[in-house]
């Protein structure tokens, strides 16, 4: 579903990604772990077609970036630590706006389904600026799944959430993944990543330095795997 070969991204003289290779099968949930400045967000922005690669090849769902970026964007749902929602519109208006941008069919019905999925049906007519951070993040997931994308990208979705809000977000994330979507999520929170993902990749200094399947690791072994990977990098 996602195929990345020899990806390089430079900002001026600084190499942020240095020949990164990455492959994700359909239906996989990959947690991308790594220290600050490793290049996780830059990598996700390239996958999301918000940033152009300097060198290398990126294919998503059979389409090449950046040449076929519109086709890729149609198949992508993106959630970052910012909600990408308009505070002066209601939850329903935000979904209707994005639904029109994605040309979603039967928009009223789809918006209702999504609001139900993220548990915000009762607040559908409230302005988003009156929502708590957790509610905004749940609506952000609703926005991202509105057009039923094949691939979901989550960039540190738990940032700024308290325990309850994070737990609720995890529930929604599991439901989204259970629908058979391919998911790539960056995270600093190893415990949450261990709970959600089916594969763990460690990104350090612009390359993937280690990768392990969930079935090949003990439930409490992720921290030592991560530390060893960073140490060996």
């Amino acid at each position: 579903m996602i195929e990345v070969r020899k990806l390089v991204k430079r900002f001026g003289l600084k190499n942020v990604l240095r020949g990164l290779d990455f492959h994700v099968e359909p239906g996989e949930f990959v947690a991308l772990l790594g220290p600050n400045g490793a290049g996780k967000t830059t990598f996700l922005r390239i996958l999301a077609s918000l940033s152009r690669p300097t060198l290398g090849e990126v294919h998503i769902a059979g389409y090449r970036l950046p040449a076929q970026s519109a086709a890729v964007r149609r198949r992508l749902g993106v959630v970052s630590h910012l909600p990408l929602l308009y505070g002066d519109l209601t939850a329903e208006e935000n979904l209707r706006f994005y639904g029109r941008m994605y040309a979603v069919d039967h928009l009223d019905q789809r918006a209702s389904e999504v609001l139900e999925l993220v548990g915000l049906n009762a607040r559908r007519r409230d302005l988003v600026r009156t929502f708590s951070r957790g509610m905004q993040q749940r609506l952000a997931i609703g926005r991202a799944v509105l057009h039923d994308p094949e691939v979901m990208l989550f960039d540190e979705p738990h940032t700024g959430l308290d325990q309850d809000a994070s737990a609720m977000l995890d529930k929604v994330l599991r439901e989204v993944a259970a629908m058979g979507r391919t998911v790539v999520m960056t995270s600093h929170d190893l415990a949450r990543a261990a709970d959600l993902a089916s594969r763990f990749d460690v990104l350090s200094r612009g390359v993937i330095v280690a990768s392990v399947q969930r079935r090949d690791i003990q439930p409490d072994g992720l921290l030592s795997f991560y530390r060893q990977a960073i140490q060996d990098a």
Binding site: R52, L85, A103
Partner: protein, 239 residues
């Protein structure tokens, strides 16, 4: 001439429909959000009214002189208030990451540009519609002149076409509030000069033949910069 096959025609029609749907969604979103917050319009309006009040007290003019300075005062007011609106309109997209949200949608990115530009133009027209009668009262000058309205229309289009493009550039920087006027005013100078000359011509009853070159300049500027914005917006907003 060879006619396009039906499949190509229908794909063109679909692309045009998608473009118009995205454009109208962006315009609707900007108007609906502004209707709730009234942040942008109230700031532009208060600022515009303050400028004409200040000019009214700073320049104690006789009736004859008023007619000659009116167009200058009007366009300075529109330019300052417009800059405020352009900055705010794009900052609203950037602050909550909404610009990324827009860029993630599978639409032609020029539809986003035109949607934002039309929204900005509507806000600018609303301010102008309110400022003109207030100015007429304060300066005791009749501004209800069809020629002047045409110049304001053409000048505003040129100003907003360039302003929306440059504000999408400036918003990416930390110094966006300062950067926009520094970038914008030199580029829109031809619009201001042409608009002031043409407005002044209509207000003083000068012959159409003398005003015509300024109107032509405004139209040419509008067409060129709208086309430039259409071509480069995609590159400006991408990292």
């Amino acid at each position: 001439m060879k006619e396009n096959p039906p499949l190509v025609r229908s794909s063109h029609r679909l692309a045009a429909n998608n473009f118009l749907r995205a454009l109208s969604a962006v315009v609707w979103k900007d108007l609906a959000a502004e209707l709730r917050s009234r942040e942008l319009l109230s700031a532009m309006l208060v600022f515009a009214l303050l400028v004409i009040f200040i000019f009214n007290f700073a320049l104690e003019l006789d009736t004859a002189t008023r007619a000659t300075v009116t167009s200058g005062v009007l366009w300075v007011t529109f330019a300052f208030a417009g800059t405020l609106g352009l900055n705010r309109s794009m900052a609203m997209e950037k602050d909550r990451g909404c610009l990324d949200g827009l860029l993630l949608t599978p639409v032609d990115r020029s539809a986003i540009y035109f949607g934002k530009a039309i929204g900005n133009l509507i806000f600018m027209f609303i301010v102008e519609i309110i400022v003109l009668p207030v100015y007429s009262l304060l300066y005791n000058t009749n501004l209800f002149n069809p020629g002047l309205i045409l110049v304001i229309l053409l000048g505003s289009i040129g100003y907003v076409a360039v302003g929306t493009l440059l504000s999408s550039m400036a918003v990416q920087t930390r110094t966006r509030d300062v950067l926009l006027p520094i970038l914008l005013f030199p580029v829109v100078l031809p619009v201001f000069i042409a608009a002031v000359k043409a407005s002044s011509g209509f207000l003083q009853g000068i012959e159409m033949a003398e005003i015509q070159p300024w109107l032509t300049l405004l139209i040419v500027y509008d067409v060129i910069f709208t086309a430039v914005a259409f071509m480069v917006f995609d590159f400006i907003v991408e990292e």
